[in-house]
Amino acid sequence: MPIIRVENLVKSYGSLTAVDGISFEVEEGTIFGFLGPNGAGKTTTINVLCTLISATSGKAFINGYDCLKEPSRVRKSIGIVFQDTTLDKDLTAYENLVFHAYLYGVKKSEIKGRVHDALNFVQLYERKDDLVKKYSGGMKRRLEVARGLIHQPRVLFLDEPTLGLDPQSRANLWGVITEMPKKHNVTIFMTTHYMEEAEVCDKIAIIDNGKIIAEGSPEELKKTVGGDVISLRTRDNEWSAGEIRKMFGIDSVEKDGELYLTTGRGDSCIPELIRGLGDNVLSVKLQRPTINDVFLKLTGKAIRDEDVSGMSNIKEEVRAYRRRH
C-alpha cells in the first residue's frame, strides 16, 4: 500500500486554482521529488497534506489516515521542514529539539537519546548549545531535518530544502537526505525547483500551473526527450561526418565547428567512434538529457533558478534588525 495517496486534489484561492486536480502515489521508503517552477503549487500541496490548510475538493491519505478528516493522526505520522525556517532563534539547537519532542509527545525517558542521535546524524552535536541565531543557513536546515525526525515520522516533507544554500551546504544536506530512507525508515517527500536535484529521487512528479504534467523515475522521464547528444571536434569535420554515417547510419550536424550527433546510448558509442575516427578526434563531449530538458519539452519554457531565498533572506535580516532596535 502506498504511504501517500492523493486523488484529484484541488485547492483554490478565490478564482486562482493553486492546485488543480492532482493525483499521485508515493511508495514507502522512497524519495519522491515534487518538481516545478515557483508558484506551481508545490507548497500549497504540502500544506494540504500536512493538514495546515483545507482542500477545496479531492482526497489525500498519509499512512492510511485521511489528511482532511484525521489531522491529528496525520500530524503524528509526518515530519515537516518548511520552505522558510521555523526554528526559535533565541533558543539553542538542543532546546529546539527538546521542545519539539515534548510537543509531539515523545516519552520523557526517550527524549535525550533521540535528540542526541538526531544531532549526531546531521553533524551538529558539537554545536548543540549554540543559540540558533548563530547558525548558518545550511546548519539551520540540517537542524530542521533533525527536528523533523525526532518523533520518528513515517513521512518527512522537505519544502525546497536546499533553497539559498551554498554548494557545499547543499551537497552536505543531500548526503543527509539520501541517507534517511534506510537509516530512519522514513519516506521522503521533497519539493525543489533545482532540476538537477531531482536526479537522486526514486520517482518524480513535475507540476506546472497546479497540474502534474509528467511522472516517473528520472530515467524514464529523460528517455522521453530522446537520446544522448555527443559533440566532437575533429581535424576534418566533413570526412568525419561521412565516417560516422558509414559506422552508425546517423547524420551528424555541424554547428560552430563542432559535430553533434544524437544516439540512444552515448557512453557505449564513444569508444567505437574514437576507434573509427582515429587521431582525427580532438575532443569528445557527452551530454545526457536532464530533467530540465524534460520540463523544457513539456512546457516550452525552462525552470529558472531565480533565487527566491535571496529576497527572503534580506527580508529576514531587515526584520531581525528592526526587532533588535
Binding site: 493525483s23 495546515l52 483545507s54 492510511g64 500530524r75 521555523t86 526559535d88 510537543l103 509527545g105
Partner: protein, 277 residues
C-alpha cells in the same frame, strides 16, 4: 484509477488511547510554558523594565498626583494606585508574552507549533499559562512594595492578591492571544500598544475610580477586563470599604467576570487557530 484502502492497517490504532492523548496535550502545555519561562529568565532587560515601569509610576506619577488629591478622600493617592500598578504590571507582561505570538508568526516558529498533533485549545492554554507564569512572578515582586506605601496586608490578603493576580494574568494573556490572531506582522505591535493597551490601562480604574468617570468613559471601563481585575485587588487591598476611592464592584462579580472572559477568550482563540480555509 485509484482504489481506497480496504482496511486500516493494524498499526493505525496504536497510540490513540485516552490517557496517551491527555499526556500529549499536557506535554504540549508544559513545554510552551517552559519555553516562555526560559526566555524570560534569559532576557534580563525584559525583567528589569518590567520591574522599573511600576516603580516609575508609583513613585513619580503617584507622588506627583497625590498633591492633587484631598487628604480626606479616604487614603493617600499612592495607596490608591497600588492595585492599579499591580494591574498594570500584569497587563503589560501578559500582553507582551502573548503578543510574542506575532513574532513567532513573523519568524515562522508558530508554524512549528501549529503543525504539531496537539489540540488548538492546548496551544491557547499553554500560551495563556506562559503569560500567567511570568506576569504573576512580576506582580509578586511589585507586591512586596506594599509596606513602603504604608499598606498593611495579612498573609491571607497576600494569598488572595496572588490568586487574583493569577486569574487576571490568565485573562489578560488569553485576551492578548486573541489580539495576536488578528495580526501577522509585528509592525502592528505599536498599534496594539497605543490604541488598545494604553486605553485599557487608563480606563481600568487604575488611576481614578470608575465611579468618578463621566458616563461614556465609565461604560468603556465596564467593558474592560482589566477593570475587574484591578477592582478585585482593590477589594482585597484597601482598608476602607466606603468612600469615593473604594472598590466599584463586589469581589464575587469581579472574579466571575474574569473567569467567564478567560473562558471565552480561550474558546474563541482556539477556534481562530483552526486550519485556514
Amino acid at each position: 484509477m485509484f482504489h481506497l484502502p480496504p482496511l486500516t492497517p493494524p498499526y493505525k490504532r496504536r497510540g490513540n488511547k485516552c490517557h496517551e492523548l491527555i499526556f500529549m496535550e499536557f506535554n504540549a502545555i508544559y513545554v510552551l510554558v517552559a519555553r516562555e519561562f526560559k526566555k524570560f529568565i534569559r532576557e534580563r532587560s525584559r525583567l528589569v523594565s518590567a520591574i522599573a515601569r511600576p516603580l516609575l509610576w508609583l513613585f513619580l506619577v503617584g507622588a506627583g498626583m497625590s498633591r492633587l488629591v484631598s487628604p480626606d478622600a479616604g487614603m493617600p493617592y499612592t495607596q490608591f494606585i497600588f492595585p492599579g500598578i499591580l494591574g498594570m504590571t500584569i497587563l503589560f507582561s501578559s500582553v507582551f508574552s502573548s503578543i510574542s505570538i506575532i513574532w513567532d508568526k513573523e519568524f515562522g516558529f508558530f508554524r512549528e507549533i501549529l503543525a504539531a498533533p496537539v489540540s488548538r485549545m492546548s496551544i491557547v492554554i499553554g500560551k495563556g499559562l506562559s503569560g500567567t507564569v511570568v506576569s504573576t512572578i512580576q506582580a509578586a515582586i511589585v507586591l512586596m512594595l506594599f509596606p513602603v506605601l504604608g499598606l498593611r496586608l495579612g498573609p491571607l490578603q497576600i494569598v488572595e492578591v496572588l490568586i487574583i493576580s493569577i486569574a487576571l494574568s490568565f485573562c489578560i494573556s488569553t485576551f492578548g492571544i486573541l489580539l495576536a490572531t488578528f495580526y501577522e506582522s509585528y509592525e502592528s505591535f505599536s498599534v496594539i500598544m497605543n490604541f488598545i493597551i494604553m486605553p485599557m490601562f487608563f480606563l481600568s480604574g487604575a488611576m481614578y475610580p470608575v465611579k468618578l468617570l463621566p458616563k461614556p468613559l465609565a461604560v468603556a471601563a465596564q467593558l474592560n477586563p482589566l477593570t475587574y481585575g484591578i477592582d478585585a485587588l482593590k477589594n482585597v487591598i484597601f482598608p476602607v470599604e466606603e468612600g469615593p476611592m473604594s472598590a466599584d464592584f463586589g469581589l464575587v462579580t469581579d472574579m466571575a467576570v474574569i473567569l467567564i472572559l478567560s473562558f471565552a477568550f480561550v474558546v474563541i482563540s482556539a477556534r481562530l487557530f483552526e486550519r485556514k480555509k
